[in-house]
């Protein structure tokens, strides 16, 4: 009995030792590729910094020129209301055709045209039409610009109309619905928080698919896999250390960007549990690493792995619901999103970091990630075994 126990112990000991040796081998191999390490470091620090610091998805200083045919007090007052942050006034143009030329050359996004007799109309209570030409090549921004413009002109008009009656909008005796917005979780709508977090998640996705897949195929391509196959290692012991090593590297990178870039530089609030964040991240990395290994079993050389990765990663990143709102997607397209682990991962991470959500709220996303990951990993393992039988 005792002896049996001992052999069992020494067996697990050997099993663990093999796992460790193989993991260390992967880490060593990775650390000797200087340029690769350089880019891993770059991606987790500078790349995330520039995404967080530089990118905003809002209408910001839209270049506007105006053509004032009235040159009155009222027209100047209206033009003066088109201000930063949404608009940036680039000055007056002398002729409408100049406006078209500026729009064509991307020098301006909006041309505001105020008709003659504008002030007179206002004073007489006649309707006045102000023209607003918007470059809608970027449909969202075009739409936003128009809606901000409508708001400014609407407020201006209402004030002018009421002033004529001797009332003012500040006057309490007017029935109006005022809405008070309160933006939760990110009160100042700081883009840096959102952009740096999603950028980090994208980087994690790229690396966790690519690194294990490449490590696998490289062995196949160079033939060193034959060495591993004649060794006493099982397929599991060959495959899992690759994933473990890469997971360690990626987790280290994540920690660096979270604590050295995002928290000190962008003041991203880490409201929830850090432990939970890293737990979910590990789960996600293993998840996508499974996808990568699955790709690696299909591909015979690294060129194929590269193309397959683009095929997997690009849709994952684009359709994760981070850059484009999932609610507006076509229903059948949303199906793709629902099978992508990144979608659940983004929800969980934003939930943990910004909203302070715990497992009691995120359990469904985590559960789906476990199920998806298990399925992918199982298929990958099965394909990998079959390859060498």
């Amino acid at each position: 009995m005792n002896r049996k126990h001992k052999t069992f112990l020494s067996r697990t000991g050997i099993w663990l030792l093999r796992l460790r040796v193989m993991t260390v081998k992967e880490l060593l191999q990775l650390s000797r590729d200087f340029i690769l390490i350089f880019f891993v470091v770059y991606a987790f620090t500078l790349d995330i910094y520039s995404a967080g610091a530089g990118v905003t998805l809002q209408l910001n200083k839209a270049a506007m020129v105006f053509h004032d045919n009235d040159r009155s007090f009222a027209s100047r007052e209206l033009i003066g209301r088109f201000q930063e942050p949404h608009f940036s006034n680039k000055g007056e143009i002398s002729h409408p055709s100049e406006g078209v030329r500026l729009l064509d050359r991307d020098r301006a996004m909006i041309v505001l045209d105020i008709p003659p007799r504008f002030q007179e109309c206002l004073l007489m209570g006649e309707p006045a039409n102000v023209q607003f030409q918007v470059d809608a090549t970027n449909s969202v921004l075009g739409f936003l610009a128009a809606s901000y413009g409508e708001r400014i002109v609407g407020e201006f008009g209402m004030e002018a109309g009421l002033k004529r009656l001797g009332m003012s909008t500040g006057n309490v005796a007017a029935p109006m619905i005022k809405d008070d917005h309160r933006v939760w979780f990110n009160p100042n709508q700081n883009d840096a928080w959102f952009m740096s977090i999603t950028e980090l998640l994208n980087i994690i996705t790229v690396f966790s698919i690519l690194l294990p897949a490449a490590a696998m195929v490289r062995e196949k391509e160079r033939g060193t896999i034959e060495q591993l196959l004649v060794s006493p290692l099982t397929p599991f012991q060959i495959m899992v250390p690759k994933m473990l090593a890469m997971t360690l590297v990626i987790l280290a990178g994540t920690a660096v960007s979270l604590f050295a870039v995002m928290e000190p530089l962008f003041h991203v609030p880490i409201k929830g549990s850090v432990l939970l964040f890293f737990g979910v991240t590990t789960l996600y990395i293993l998840n996508t690493a499974g996808l990568g290994l699955f790709a690696a079993t299909i591909a015979r050389n690294l060129a194929q792995v590269g193309m397959l990765t683009v095929l997997i990663v690009a849709p994952m990143i684009f359709l994760s619901g981070a850059w484009t709102p999932p609610e507006a997607m076509a229903p059948w397209m949303r199906l793709f999103m629902y099978i992508s682990p990144l979608h659940y991962y983004i929800d969980s991470c934003l939930g943990i970091l910004l909203k302070g959500a715990g497992l009691e709220i995120l359990w469904d996303s985590v559960l789906i990630m476990v199920l998806l990951g298990g399925a992918v990993f199982g298929v990958g393992m099965w394909r990998f075994r079959r390859q060498f039988e």
Partner: protein
């Protein structure tokens, strides 16, 4: 430069690509597949925002106000909530993105001619969506306020309804959307996707081309041959540029026929500048591949250099002027931004060489610089 030797290298590369069947089919499948997936998937319109209402008034007017949101295509009504705790849970769990709280005495205040305050809670994790949601809420509230005010003025001042309207809204903003009259998202997305996909796929194809030879050692055949380095690089590039040009044509067909995006520009100008762009992106792959020793590094470097910048710093989702200083610098360093101008100009604006020539010039310069770097990095006498 000997044309015959360039052709020989190109021919050899072409054979190698064709014989790797999976790679060859992926080279054509990946761009087309991405175009379909992203074209149908990327919709920037903020629509169907899930929201709940907490109606503390429960009056006719508060219901009317709620119905304005329910009827709007921008909102997706998820029901009524009854207490603050439920609201908080729903927002934290991503079940809703906005909550509207209508106060008590909503109807009474309005009928008495007093302003009333409606509170909107918005999920700010996606700042851009929060911004747009705010805009929608304000628009709906303002529209209703205006009607109420006009009614009130007509009632209290004894003036006609039309006059009251004229007072409430004396100035109208006549908005004209240029280039994309119906503000169709796909019209602005499809042409930009050509730019994004052509930024992704050619560098990949090429980057692996040179490193593969380095890693497998077959590069020694080149070192030992009479092929000059310029000839080798040109010959290497030709097949990849050819494949990418074919892809470009397929993507153009998809953008115009499948997605119905209008092409208003000059076709010859577009084709030539597109090939120039493809040469640029292929060149990025070439430089990346000369710079690294292993294929993994080549893949990582090209992904980091192309995939994310192609979206963030190209003017695809975010216009260049909205970027901050540092991001603008990155944007100006990549060819994507210049080609975005060309694509959008050719598709939606219908302008040609006359106003787009600076972009073409920069792309040409870019291609030259890349090729020069490649030329100086590649040596037939490696040190180690």
């Amino acid at each position: 430069m000997n044309g015959k030797r360039i052709l020989a290298v190109a021919h050899k590369e072409w054979r190698e690509i064709i014989r790797d069947r999976l790679f060859f089919s992926l080279a054509f499948m990946v761009p087309a597949f991405l175009m379909i997936l992203l074209g149908y998937g990327i919709s920037l319109d903020v629509e169907n925002i899930p929201f709940v209402v907490m109606d503390q008034d429960g009056s006719r007017m508060s219901r009317e106000y709620t119905y304005r949101f329910i009827d709007s295509r921008y909102f997706d009504f998820k029901g009524y909530a009854h207490d603050d705790h439920t609201l908080k849970m729903l927002l934290t769990d991503n079940k809703v993105r906005a909550a509207i709280i209508i106060p008590e005495h909503f109807q009474k205040d309005l009928l008495m001619g007093r302003p009333t305050h409606v509170q909107t809670l918005i999920d700010g994790t996606f700042p851009f969506r929060a911004q747009t949601t705010k805009g929608y809420v304000t628009a709906i509230s303002t529209a209703m306020s205006r009607e109420l005010l006009a009614e009130y003025l007509a009632r209290t001042r004894g003036i006609s309804h039309e006059r009251a309207w004229g007072i409430v809204q004396p100035v109208k903003l006549a908005v004209r959307y240029l280039y994309n009259q119906s503000v169709k998202s796909i019209w602005s997305v499809a042409p930009k996707l050509i730019m994004v996909i052509m930024m992704l796929s050619p560098p990949f194809l090429t980057a692996l081309g040179v490193v593969r030879e380095k890693e497998s050692g077959s590069i020694y055949n080149i070192y030992a041959s009479t092929v000059k380095r310029g000839e080798f690089l040109l010959g290497k590039l030709i097949p990849y540029v050819a494949i990418s040009t074919m892809n470009l044509f397929i993507l153009w067909l998809m953008a115009t026929k499948l997605y119905g995006a209008p092409f208003k520009g000059q076709i010859i100008f577009f084709v030539l500048s597109s090939i120039l762009y493809v040469v640029c992106t292929t060149g990025i792959g070439l430089v990346a591949s000369l710079f690294v020793r292993t294929q993994i590094a080549a893949i990582i470097v090209t992904i980091i250099l192309t995939m994310i910048p192609a979206v963030l710093y190209s003017g695809c989702l975010i216009p260049i002027p909205s970027l901050s200083g540092q991001a603008q610098t990155i944007a100006h360093m990549l060819p994507a931004m210049y080609y975005t101008n060309i694509v959008m100009g050719s598709f939606l604006k219908g302008v040609g060489l006359k106003s787009l020539w600076p972009n073409v010039l920069i792309l040409a310069g870019y291609a030259t610089v890349l090729f020069t770097i490649g030329f100086s990095l590649f040596s037939k006498r490696p040190r180690s």
